[in-house]
């Protein structure tokens, strides 16, 4: 009897698959997109796996508090938010394809992709001006593409073939778009090598009334502009650009903030604000870092600035007889960069762009400067990410009282990659 049952099992197993396998997929992909949430918050965290990077994005009606397990959200292969327009987030495509995805939160609280714009090569940077106009660079060529965020269709392009190219850098790619009135300032980045391959800070100026390249402007002594989610333009129309300098060449290119004055399309040669030099160790810091830049009002902005040297890098200094000389190998730089990702050594710093002064925010602990430094302004408060040995959190900073307090801790799902208020205009 048992043998018979065994035989029956073996025979029925493949047969059963005929019926299982022939079941049709009744998924209806033509359902209309449900109405999207107009308010609430999206927390994005990034998982740095060894072989795969992924992101978790989670919606909450109320502002997150306490301990947040962001793995309860939805995971994506990519979720680098490049722009926001109301309740719409514009992210580099959420899978391995190249382009931009438009993302909303459905009425049921799920993150949904409602539009995609495909590009040939990576799409970066992306600037959303309004519901009809956005700019992106398809890195396949020099041109800058113009698109309509509502339809996610390309509407034109800007010919950049006349723009300045650093010869050894092959050709142009771009680090940031800054739109001010009828001009767009495009931060140049060399295609070959690292961001440090150019020895000058180069911006291209675009006339948006004709969508034509106007000129390239060059500022020597600065390099590697820091891309910020929103351009730093004060109430007068002054543009401020933070530059990292060259981490691998100390005392030559150090972090600085430079300015394109209101009404001008040239750099202000006199404005050279070096906020890290004003920290306690200041110019004596053998390695200076500036990785985030967000504007508040009245000339006040916030940066993440290195205030200490990570212990691993100090050890390298001891082993190599000093910082960054000919004894340093690419492997040593690799170790140093890893330390900047994993060892808290930077602080959130308030900077006064007019007075060129700084105020280190003591209430917020040290953070790892290369590990997801992230800031959002929601209501009257700022929310700054902090990643350290004991911290993986967003801190709330209230400018009016100059106080900081932990807003919520992220217990699972990775390091902070963004916090978005869907009711933002």
């Amino acid at each position: 009897m048992k043998k018979a049952r065994f035989l029956l099992l073996i025979v029925l197993l493949p047969i059963s698959t005929l019926f299982i396998g022939s079941c049709s997929d009744d998924d209806d992909n033509n359902n209309p997109i449900p109405e999207s949430k107009k308010s609430g918050f999206v927390l994005v965290t990034q998982v740095g796996l060894s072989t795969v990077e992924s992101f978790f994005s989670q919606f909450s009606e109320e502002f997150p508090t306490g301990a947040i397990d962001n793995t309860q959200g939805k995971s994506f292969e990519n979720f680098f938010v490049r722009g926001q327009l109301g309740n719409e987030l514009y992210v580099n495509t959420v899978d391995q394809a190249k382009g931009v995805s438009k993302v909303v939160v459905s009425a049921t609280g799920e993150i949904e992709v409602i539009g995609e714009l495909a590009t040939i090569d990576a799409a970066f940077p992306v600037e959303i001006v309004d519901s009809n106009t956005g700019y992106l660079d398809d890195r396949n060529d020099l041109d800058i593409e113009i698109f309509n965020p509502s339809t996610m269709m390309l509407t034109g392009s800007i010919d950049m073939s006349s723009a300045l190219v650093v010869p050894q850098a092959d050709d142009n790619i771009y680090q940031e778009f800054i739109v001010r009135d009828d001009k767009m300032f495009v931060a140049y980045r060399p295609r070959k090598g690292t961001a440090y391959a150019s020895d000058s800070l180069i911006f291209h100026v675009i006339d948006l009334t004709t969508n034509t390249f106007e000129k390239s402007i060059v500022l020597d002594g600065h390099k590697a502009p820091v891309s910020s989610q929103d351009p730093i333009i004060d109430e007068q129309g002054n543009i401020y650009i933070a530059t990292q300098g060259d981490l691998t060449v100390p005392n030559l290119f150090r972090p600085s903030i430079v300015k394109i004055p209101a009404g001008s399309t040239e750099f202000d040669p006199e404005y050279n604000f070096k906020p890290i030099d004003l920290t306690p160790l200041g110019a004596g810091l053998p390695i200076q870092v500036l990785t985030q830049f967000i504007y508040d009002a009245n000339g006040i902005a916030y940066i993440v600035g290195g205030v200490e040297v990570p212990p691993t890098i100090l050890q390298l200094f001891a082993e190599k007889g000093g910082p960054f000389d000919g004894n340093w190998t690419p492997a040593d730089f690799g170790i140093a960069f890893d330390a900047l990702r994993t060892e808290p050594s930077a602080k959130w710093i308030e900077v006064d762009l007019n007075a060129q002064t700084i105020n280190i925010i003591d209430d917020i602990p040290l953070t790892s400067p290369f590990s997801g430094a992230n800031a959002s302004k929601i209501g009257a408060n700022f929310y700054f990410s902090v990643v350290g040995d004991q911290e993986n959190a967003f801190y709330q900073y209230t400018p009016s009282t100059k106080t900081g307090i932990r807003a919520f801790q992220i217990t699972d799902g990775g390091i902070p990659a963004g916090l978005y208020d869907l009711s933002q205009n």
Binding site: I10, P14, T71, K74, N140, G413
Partner: protein, 796 residues
């Protein structure tokens, strides 16, 4: 210590007592006095059996006193039955002469233990497939392997495409691949699991986590050994196969024994496949700006045929030698030439931009010298030597300014500068010569009838030199032009003992790994002349296997190895394109445990049932991954630990001469156990590894309804793979992160005309045209057909 001594004394005493048990030995020859290798000798009442060695000798040990019928059979010979009365003698000698049988010229299934079954019943966990019985069918070696418990084979796009082997939770380089005991990394990819026809293989052995010293090199999670076809009599075996997607395969094996000592042979194969199967894609529709630059104007979802996916490979080998001399059982030399050409339709994923020009070519000359002598010094010593000297050239071309759409149309000038490559990220024309040698010497010292000591030493050296005119220059030099060398010495010692009439079999082994190398030192960027960097390291490993035979039907076994994988050349020295050196990289380590139970029962007639249940645990540390997050070039680093555990079941039954079935089931889980507190994936399942899969097959033969020399058989197999996610999924499911559940059914029919040595086979794969995927979400072909004709001639 005293207790230990007492146990040893008792065990040895027991051995001495048991040595008085009856053994039956002898020789099996044919009517021309030729020894028959691989003949099966079986006792009818008990599940005791063995096969003859290359000289036709056999030995059945520990046969209980009584009356029996000995059944002796061999392919192409009439089965012989002889009644034996065993009384008080300790040893009986029985020789057999088998007459050739016209009616059994083709392959036959004999009751008894094939070599594959002998191997599968060792103390360490091995799955072994007897490929000979499959050679009449139009099946792929990859598919056969994929049906084993614990094994998943995934490819990147059809026949011949790149293969990823997953074995008990280990993946990629952790699973070593061998061709007739030679690690394939020394002979190139011309003889690999993705292109080797089943008709070129005798057997596939899958070592699960524990590698014996005479096979293993530095394998972290086990290995797969493709055993080349062996001949002992003059033989001609040819096949041709034609299939969907313009697939053609031909194999040819010829072997001639001039006299009893001299032999020559020729074998080879040819494969070609267009792999132009259909799949659904999102296709870009391009437009041009006023200044001629390209942009994506629109997209369309269409069904296309893959258009840049050809595979072609061939292999030709001549071999000759002498055998059965007093001083050598075999001394042979082989020289072969392999060639393969592959096109790639896309990178690791199917995007909206296909590749249309990237290719890889490889040509290799492979030489092998083999010396085998068993039974030296009155049976005390066996010697086995195998040495290879190989020349491999590999050319990778990925440089084009053209862009392709999925309709196969060329968009000229669509790529520029560093973007002028389709898959590799930058223009590449890398032409590399590899000169390699591998030498293995294995000696077995038979200390006692039940105690063997095996000593093995493996030495291998690879030298790489070449050029890449499009690649990065370092101080004005092409770094590929400076030779990179990696050498390995792996020594092993293994002690095997059999106790209590072979009811208890124990194996202990240890391995010593030493490796060294040199290459251009990319770190010395400030030197005026780039110096060579030398590198050397060593490590140890060890393991054990125990098998306890409960009765003739049942045994349990357990095995363990602390396994090691030595970093590859590119992992140490970088590859000059995307990876820089890491001279401090450590070998990967893994503690591999197996525990299993095996049950087999024969019933009246040819009915039988077999169950092989195995559990495994793999504790892997210092796993090497490519870390691309550094300042410029990435680097291979030791950065993750993982724990894989699972259970696998192989169940098979033969219900009559006509009907048999098998079921293989695997349930596994692989967890990231890294100590990196910044890695939130710690403690979570490692994505992109299916955790449940089932294979089943049903075989029915019309042998009883057909004339005696004809056979029509049918095979129905199905493959079930539970859905799995390829990145970590969250509380809110994202369907885009999942590879759907796959249920595939294949059907095959084979008609054999045995007296003419002819067989015809039709195979319909994916008969229900179900959705199927290879690595990650790469679509696999829908319903497709293969037809195969095989001719087998055996000279008397």
């Amino acid at each position: 210590m005293q207790i230990f001594s007492t146990i040893i004394f008792l065990l040895i005493g027991y051995q001495i007592v048991q040595a008085q048990q009856v053994s039956i030995s002898g020789k099996v020859i044919d009517s021309n006095d030729e020894p028959l290798t691989g003949a099966t000798i079986q006792i009818d009442k008990y599940d005791i059996g063995t096969v003859t060695d290359v000289k036709g000798f056999y030995k059945l040990k520990n046969v209980p006193i009584g009356n029996y019928v000995l059944v002796v059979s061999s392919v192409g010979y009439t089965k012989q039955l002889r009644t034996v009365v065993i009384e008080g003698k300790s040893a009986i000698t029985l020789d057999f002469v088998l007459k050739e049988s016209v009616s059994e010229l083709g392959e036959v299934v004999v009751r008894g233990k094939s070599q594959a079954q002998e191997i599968a019943e060792q103390s360490i966990q091995i799955s072994s497939i007897d490929a000979r019985s499959l050679q009449v069918q139009a099946v792929e070696a990859t598919r056969v392997l994929d049906e084993l418990p614990g094994v998943r084979i995934r490819q990147s796009g059809g026949f011949g495409s790149q293969t990823e082997i997953q074995l008990n939770g280990a993946v990629g380089n952790a699973v070593r691949l061998y061709y007739d005991g030679i690690p394939v990394e020394y002979i190139g990819s011309g003889l690999s699991i993705n292109n080797l026809p089943i008709n070129m293989i005798d057997r596939i052995d899958v070592y699960k986590g524990v590698m014996p010293v005479e096979i293993g090199t530095d394998a972290l999670g086990g290995g797969i050994n493709l055993i080349q076809k062996k001949f002992f009599n003059s033989f001609l075996d040819a096949s041709y196969e034609i299939g969907s997607f313009n697939t053609h395969r031909a194999t040819f094996n010829a072997y001639h024994a001039q006299d009893s000592n001299f032999f020559i042979g020729f074998n080879g194969f040819f494969n070609y496949a267009e792999n132009n199967y259909k799949m659904e894609v999102t296709n870009n529709i391009y437009g041009r700006t006023d200044n001629g630059n390209l942009f994506i104007a629109d997209q369309e979802d269409i069904e296309i045929e893959r258009f840049h996916n050809d595979h072609q490979s061939y292999f030709a080998e001549f071999h000759g030698g002498i055998r059965d001399k007093k001083w050598a059982d075999e001394l042979s030399y082989r020289i072969g030439y392999t060639s393969r050409y592959d096109e790639f339709q896309h990178g690791a994923r199917v995007g909206n931009i296909p590749a249309g020009e990237i290719t890889q070519e490889e040509n290799a000359i492979i030489q092998r010298l083999t010396y085998i002598k068993n039974g030296l010094l009155n049976g005390f010593l066996d010697i086995n030597y195998q040495g290879t000297l190989n020349f491999v050239n590999e050319l990778t071309l990925d440089s084009t300014i053209n862009l392709y759409d999925w309709r196969g149309q060329v968009i000229q000038g669509g790529r520029t500068g560093d973007n002028a490559s389709e898959v590799l990220g930058r223009p590449t024309s890398r032409d590399i010569d590899q000169t390699s040698t591998s030498q293995r010497l294995t000696t077995v010292l038979r200390l006692h009838e039940d105690h063997d000591l095996t000593l093995s030493h493996f030495y291998a050296r690879q030298k790489f030199v070449g050029e890449d005119p499009f690649g990065p220059q370092i101080l004005g030099q092409d770094p590929n032009k400076t030779p990179a060398i990696l050498a390995k010495n792996i020594s092993g010692i293994s002690y095997q003992s059999r106790w209590f009439n072979e009811k208890l079999i124990m194996t202990l082994f240890g391995k010593y790994y030493q490796y060294s190398g040199e290459s251009i030192d990319l770190f010395q960027v400030n030197a005026s002349v780039l110096p060579l960097r030398k590198f050397e390291d060593e490590t140890w490993g060890y393991g054990t296997g125990i098998k306890w035979v409960v009765n003739n039907n049942l045994f349990v076994r357990s095995s363990y190895e602390q396994a090691t994988r030595i970093p590859d050349e590119a992992e140490i020295f970088g590859n000059f394109t995307t990876a820089r050196p890491n001279y401090s990289i450590r070998p990967e380590r893994s503690d591999n445990f197996n525990l299993g139970i095996f049950y087999q029962k024969y019933f009246n007639g040819s009915r039988s049932v077999k169950l092989d249940l195995n559990t495994f645990l793999r504790l892997q540390e210092d796993l090497i991954f490519f870390n691309a997050n550094d300042i410029s070039l990435g680097q291979f680093k030791n950065q993750d630990n993982a724990e894989a555990r699972g259970i696998e079941l192989a169940l098979s039954g033969r219900f009559s001469d006509a009907l048999s079935a098998q079921l293989n089931l695997t349930k596994q889980r692989v967890i990231n156990t890294s100590e990196n507190l910044n890695d939130v994936s710690v403690g979570k399942p490692i994505p992109n590894r299916p955790d449940f899969f089932v294979n089943s097959s049903l075989n029915y033969s019309l042998c009883n309804l057909m004339p005696q020399d004809k056979e029509l058989s049918f095979t129905w197999s199905f493959n079930y793979i539970e859905e799995f996610n390829f990145i970590l999924d969250g509380g809110q499911r994202n369907d885009d992160n999942w590879v759907p559940r796959q249920i595939l059914n294949d059907f095959g029919a084979t008609y054999q005309i045995k007296d003419k040595g002819l067989s015809l086979s039709l195979q319909v794969n994916n008969i229900l045209d179900a959705e199927a995927f290879d690595n990650i979400s790469i679509p696999r072909p829908g319903r497709n057909y293969r037809f195969k004709i095989r001719y087998l001639f055996k000279n008397s």
